[in-house]
C-alpha cells in the first residue's frame, strides 16, 4: 500500500444508544487519527433549573433508557447528599439489588445484541453442523438448551429467514469479512444465544418492576425507595414479591454462569490478537458503588473508588468528586458551548459548570465536521488534567490492583482460562472480557444483597424511606451535593446546587462523556479517539474493526450529551489523499 491516507466516516455508529459519528484517518491499513462526535443535544441541564430537586431523578432518568435507573440513582444521591439525608438499610439494599440487575441485564444485552455481531458471523452459522454445535455447547456449559435437534431447528429457522431475501436487522452487514474468525458451529451457538438472551432480558428486569413499578424507567425516591414492605399487604412488597425477585436473581446468575460467561470464554481464544489492539489511554477512573455500610462509607463499596494512570497497577490514586480546585473539570474547548460572558474555552468544576448551547459547526446537511474547530455536543471531562477511561475494565482493574479479594479472584480465573497475561486486559478484548467478569460478580452480589434484605425484614426492619428532611422547609437556604455511581458504562456523577429549595445548577458528567468526548485544548484525545489509534482496517469501506473497538466501550450517547444525542446516520467514506 502507498503512503496515501484516507478518511473514513462512520455515521451512524449503530448498535449503540444515541447518535455517534466517528471519523478516522487510515494509512497503510491502520488508523493514525480519529475524532468522535456527539451530534444530538436536548438541554436537560437547562430544563432542570428552577425545579423541585425531589423531581430531578425522573428528568435525569430520561437521559438514557438503555442504562435506565443509573441516572435516577445518581440524582437521588446528589439531592440526599445536598440536604443531608441518610436512607434506611432496606432502601439501600433494594437500590443495590436494582443496580446489580441493571448491570447484568445491560451487559448481557450489550454482549449479544450490541457487540456480538462484530465477532459472530450470522451467515456462517448456516453452514454449521448442528451436532458439532451441540458437542461444543455441551463441552463448555451445562445449559440445557444444547441438543443437536435444538441447533438444527434454530438453523432451519435462520435459513428460512435468510432465504426470504429480507434480512431485516442483519442486512447489508459485514458477513464473510476476513476479520470474522469463529468456526461455523460457534457462530451457530452465538446466534442461538442472541435469541435466548433477547427472551431472557425481559424476565430479569421484572425485579425493577417489583420495586420500581416498571422497566424501562422504574421509580426512585429521594430519601429511600417508594415501595413499602409489608408481608401482610397485597399492595406492598410481600412474600410473593420477594419470592419472584429471588427466582429472577437465581435465573440471572444461571444465565450468566451457563451462557454468557462460557460464550465469552469460547469466543475470545479466536480473537486473541484483539488483546493487543485498542488499549488507548490506559488511564482508568472509578467512583465506586454498591455500598454495604451506607453510601457515605466509600471504603465499604463492592466496587472500589480510585484511579490508575499509565497502566501502573501498583498504585491506586484517590479520587474526590468534591475537589473543586484540582479534581474533575469539564472543558468546552472543542464542544459547542459557551460561558456566560462569551467565553468559549476552558474548564469548570461541575458545581460551577454551565450549559449554554452555542453551535458553531457546519449548517446541516454537511459532509464533514471541521475537526480543527469545535466538533461535538459532548464536553470534555478531565481528572487532574488527565483523560481517563471509565467502565467495567476500569472497575475490574481498580479492584484487581487494589487486591480486592472477589474481583481479583474473578479476573485471575478468567485470565487463567484464556491463558492470557494481565497486560491483555489493556485492550478491546480486555474491555469486553471485563464486562463478562463483572456480570458474574454482580449476579452473585445481587443474590447476596437479596439474602441480607430478607434477613433484615425477618429481624423487623422494613423501613424504606426517611421522612426527616423530605419537606423543603427543613432544608438550608443554600446547599450543594454530589451523587456518584458506577453505571454499566462507567463512572457517573451528578452535581447539584440548591438555592431557596429549587435547583440552581445541575450538571451531569456521565461515562460516555469521559470516553467519547472530543480532545482537549492540549490535544489530548479522550478514550474512544485514543483507542482507535493503531487499529487495523482491512477494507476502509467495511469499518468492522472500528465498530469493534468502539462497541467494546458500549457507547451510550444520549447519556454523553445529557443534553444530547448526536445524530449519526450517513456514512460516507472518501479518499482524501490518493
Amino acid at each position: 500500500m502507498s503512503a496515501a491516507s484516507s478518511r473514513i466516516v462512520v455515521d451512524p455508529v449503530t448498535r449503540i444508544e444515541g447518535h455517534l459519528r466517528i471519523e478516522a484517518e487510515v494509512k497503510d491499513g491502520k488508523i493514525i487519527d480519529a475524532w468522535s462526535a456527539g451530534t444530538m443535544v436536548r438541554g436537560l441541564e437547562i430544563i432542570l433549573k428552577g425545579r423541585d430537586p425531589r423531581d430531578a431523578w425522573a428528568f435525569c432518568e430520561r437521559v438514557c433508557g438503555v442504562c435506565t435507573t443509573v441516572h435516577a440513582l445518581a440524582s437521588v444521591r446528589a439531592v440526599e447528599d445536598a440536604i443531608g439525608m441518610t436512607i434506611p438499610p432496606a432502601a439501600e439494599l433494594i437500590r443495590n439489588i436494582m443496580f446489580c440487575v441493571q448491570n447484568v441485564q445491560d451487559h448481557v444485552i450489550h454482549f449479544y445484541h450490541l457487540h456480538a455481531l462484530d465477532w459472530v458471523d450470522v451467515v456462517s452459522a448456516l453452514k454449521a453442523d448442528p451436532a458439532e454445535a451441540s458437542r461444543i455447547a455441551q463441552s463448555i456449559s451445562r445449559w440445557p438448551k444444547s441438543s443437536p435437534r435444538y441447533f438444527a431447528d434454530l438453523q432451519q429457522r435462520l435459513t428460512g429467514f435468510v432465504q426470504s431475501g429480507q434480512l431485516g436487522i442483519f442486512a447489508n452487514a459485514y458477513w464473510g469479512h476476513p476479520a470474522f474468525k469463529l468456526p461455523p458451529a460457534i457462530n451457530l451457538i452465538g446466534v442461538a444465544h442472541y435469541l435466548e438472551a433477547l427472551e431472557w432480558q425481559k424476565e430479569i428486569v421484572k425485579v425493577h418492576a417489583v420495586f420500581g413499578g416498571k422497566n424501562p424507567h422504574p421509580n426512585y425516591l429521594v430519601g429511600g425507595m417508594p415501595c413499602s414492605i409489608n408481608l401482610d399487604e397485597p399492595n406492598a412488597i410481600n412474600a410473593e414479591r420477594f419470592a419472584l425477585v429471588g427466582k429472577l436473581l437465581k435465573d440471572a446468575r444461571d444465565f450468566v454462569e451457563q451462557v454468557y460467561y462460557p460464550d465469552l470464554l469460547a469466543i475470545a481464544p479466536y480473537y486473541l490478537d484483539w488483546a493487543a489492539i485498542g488499549g488507548g489511554l490506559e488511564n482508568y477512573l472509578c467512583y465506586g458503588d454498591l455500598p454495604v455500610n451506607g453510601f457515605a462509607n466509600h471504603a465499604g463499596y463492592k466496587f472500589k473508588r480510585g484511579a490508575i494512570l499509565g497502566r501502573n497497577l501498583s498504585e491506586i490514586l484517590p479520587v474526590d468528586p468534591r475537589d473543586t480546585q484540582t479534581g474533575i473539570e469539564e472543558l468546552i474547548d472543542n464542544s459547542w458551548y459557551e460561558y456566560t460572558g462569551g467565553g468559549t474555552t476552558g474548564g469548570r468544576h461541575p458545581w460551577a459548570g454551565e450549559t449554554n448551547l452555542k453551535y458553531t459547526g457546519p449548517k446541516p446537511p454537511y459532509e464533514h465536521l471541521d475537526v480543527d474547530k469545535k466538533y461535538s455536543w459532548l464536553k470534555t471531562p478531565r481528572w487532574k488534567g488527565h483523560a481517563m477511561e471509565v467502565g467495567p475494565l476500569s472497575r475490574m482493574l481498580v479492584g484487581f490492583a487494589g487486591n480486592d479479594t472477589e474481583i481479583k479472584a474473578a479476573v485471575t480465573e478468567a485470565l487463567g482460562a484464556l491463558k492470557a497475561p494481565a497486560s491483555a486486559l489493556f485492550s478491546t478484548l480486555g474491555r469486553t472480557a471485563a464486562r463478562g467478569i463483572e456480570a458474574r460478580l454482580c449476579a452473585k452480589w445481587g443474590i447476596e444483597f437479596f439474602d441480607t434484605l430478607l434477613a433484615l425484614v425477618k429481624a423487623g426492619d422494613t423501613r424504606t424511606f426517611t421522612k426527616e428532611r423530605w419537606e423543603p422547609s427543613t432544608w438550608p437556604a443554600e446547599c450543594r451535593g454530589v451523587g456518584t455511581s458506577e453505571a454499566p458504562r462507567g463512572a457517573l456523577a451528578h452535581w447539584i446546587v440548591i438555592k431557596n429549595r429549587k435547583i440552581e445548577n445541575y450538571q451531569l458528567v456521565v461515562p460516555s462523556t469521559w470516553n467519547a468526548s472530543p480532545r482537549d485544548a492540549k490535544g489530548q484525545r479522550s478514550a474512544y479517539e485514543a483507542s482507535l489509534i493503531g487499529t487495523p482496517v482491512h477494507d476502509p469501506k467495511q469499518p468492522l474493526e472500528i465498530i469493534r473497538t468502539i462497541h467494546s466501550f458500549d457507547p451510550c450517547l444520549a447519556c454523553a450529551v445529557h443534553l444530547y444525542e448526536n445524530g449519526a446516520e450517513v456514512a460516507h467514506h472518501e479518499l482524501l489523499v490518493k
Binding site: 444508544e17 423531581d55 433508557g65 424511606f465 448526536n566 445524530g567 456514512a571
Partner: protein, 381 residues
C-alpha cells in the same frame, strides 16, 4: 467479501421470481430439498424452506431515532406477546434501526435509502424521539442531515407512521420548559399521513407490540382517540382500574411515603398521583408482562402518557381540586376525617372507614344506585 443477499427488488417472493424464470413447482421443491441437504438440515427442512420462500413478504419497517433516550426501543424488547424475536424473524422486516442493526455507517445509510425508494408507499415508519426545530436543526444531526430533513423525506413515502412514546407524540422531557432546542413532536411536522401516537415514557411493551400487530394483522389503523392514541390502550384513566382505587373511594390516603398508610397500600393521591388524569393501560395490563405498575409499587403515577406532564409538577404535589371524591367530600375533608379517626383510635377508624366505603364505593343492593353513579360520573369529569 460476501455482501449477503442483495436486497430484492421488492415485490415478488423468491418463489414468484423462480416461476417467472420458467422454473416449475416441482423444480422449486427439488431446489428446496437440495438446499436443505446442502445446509445439513433434517428431512422436514425442505417444506419449511418452501413455505418461507412462498410466503407473503414481511412488511418493511424503518425505525428512526431522534431526540430520545432509547427507552422506547428498550421497552419494545421487553414484549412478552409476541416476543420480539418472533416479530423480527416472522412479522416485519426491520430494515433500519440504529439500535439493533448489524450494519453501520455507509452500509446502514444505504439500507435506509434503498428501503424508502424501493418500497415507496409500502413501508411503515416508526419514530422514536422529537425533532428539534431551533437553530436550523443543528441540535440533532444524523449522517450530516438534520432530523427535520430525514423525517420529512422518510415520511413522504411511508404507508403509515407510528410515533413511539412521549418524545415523538408530544416532545417529552426535552420539550419541557424552556424547551431549549424547540423539540417538536412528529404530528406537528407531518400532516398528510396517518399517525398513531403510542404514548408513554416509554409505552408499555405489549402496547407497542399490540399496535404493531394490529397494523400487520388487520392491515388498518386502530381506532384512535382525539389525541391520536389507540383507544384499545388509552381509553381509560389509570385511576379507573387502579388496585388502590377502593382506598381512594373510601378516603384512605397515604400521607407520606412508607408511613403506616403506605404500608397498608392506601391511595397515593395526596402524594401527587396523576392516575386520575392519565389515560393509559398501566393499571389494567401492568408492566413487564403483568408484573406491576408504578402505583402498585408505591410511587404515584407521574402522568407520563400525557402531553406536557413534565411541567405539570412538582410531582409530589397533589393535583389541585380534583373533583369527585366519591360523593361530595374533598380530599382535605376526608383527610381530616381520617386524621380524627387515627387520634380516636383504631376502632373508630375502622367504623368510619366502613361507613365511607359503604357510602361511596357504589350501589349496594337496595341503595340508591342512580345517586352513586351520578357521583362517579362527576368524578370522571
Amino acid at each position: 467479501m460476501t455482501m449477503l443477499a442483495p436486497r430484492t427488488e421488492v415485490a415478488p417472493t423468491i418463489y414468484e421470481q423462480a416461476l417467472s424464470r420458467g422454473v416449475s413447482r416441482r423444480d422449486f421443491l427439488t431446489f428446496c430439498a437440495w438446499m436443505g441437504a446442502y445446509l445439513g438440515l433434517e428431512h422436514g427442512a425442505a417444506a419449511q424452506i418452501a413455505r418461507a420462500l412462498e410466503s407473503k413478504r414481511r412488511i418493511p419497517v424503518v425505525w428512526l431515532h431522534f431526540q430520545e433516550c432509547t427507552c422506547c426501543s428498550e421497552s419494545f424488547l421487553r414484549s412478552s406477546h409476541p416476543i420480539v424475536a418472533d416479530i423480527l424473524l416472522d412479522k416485519v422486516s426491520l430494515d433500519y434501526t440504529e439500535t439493533l442493526q448489524a450494519a453501520a455507517g455507509h452500509q446502514a445509510e444505504e439500507i435506509l435509502r434503498d428501503t424508502i425508494t424501493k418500497h415507496r408507499g409500502e413501508y411503515l415508519m416508526l419514530v422514536e424521539g422529537s425533532v428539534p426545530l431551533a437553530a436550523d436543526g443543528c441540535y440533532c444531526v444524523v449522517g450530516g442531515r438534520s432530523a427535520l430533513d430525514t423525517v420529512r423525506e422518510v415520511a413522504a413515502g411511508a404507508k403509515a407512521i407510528i410515533a413511539w412514546g412521549n418524545c415523538a407524540c408530544s416532545g417529552c422531557v426535552q420539550a419541557a420548559n424552556p424547551n431549549p432546542t424547540r423539540a417538536t413532536p412528529i404530528n406537528a411536522i407531518i400532516k398528510d399521513k396517518p399517525i398513531v401516537n403510542v404514548q408513554g415514557c416509554p409505552p408499555i411493551a405489549e402496547v407497542m407490540a399490540g399496535v404493531l400487530v394490529h397494523l400487520l394483522t388487520f392491515d388498518r389503523i386502530p381506532q384512535l382517540d382525539a389525541l391520536g392514541r389507540p383507544k384499545a390502550f388509552y381509553a381509560r384513566r389509570v385511576h379507573d382500574t387502579c388496585v388502590r382505587r377502593a382506598n381512594y373511594d373510601a378516603g384512605l390516603f397515604v400521607g407520606t411515603f412508607d408511613d403506616e398508610n403506605a404500608k397498608k397500600g392506601y391511595c397515593l393521591y395526596k402524594v401527587g398521583c396523576r392516575g386520575p388524569t392519565t389515560y393509559n393501560s398501566c393499571a389494567s395490563m401492568r408492566w413487564n408482562n403483568g408484573t406491576s405498575f408504578p402505583i402498585q409499587s408505591g410511587h404515584p403515577c407521574i402522568g407520563c402518557s400525557e402531553a406536557n406532564f413534565w411541567d405539570n409538577g412538582p410531582f409530589y404535589q397533589r393535583l389541585p381540586n380534583f373533583p369527585g371524591f366519591g360523593i361530595e367530600s374533598t380530599a382535605d375533608q376526608i383527610g381530616l376525617g381520617i386524621a380524627g379517626a387515627t387520634v380516636a383510635g383504631a376502632l373508630a377508624h375502622a367504623v368510619l372507614t366502613n361507613v365511607r366505603k359503604r357510602g361511596e364505593i357504589g350501589p349496594h343492593p337496595g341503595e340508591d344506585a342512580e345517586k352513586a353513579e351520578a357521583a362517579e360520573k362527576g368524578g370522571a369529569a
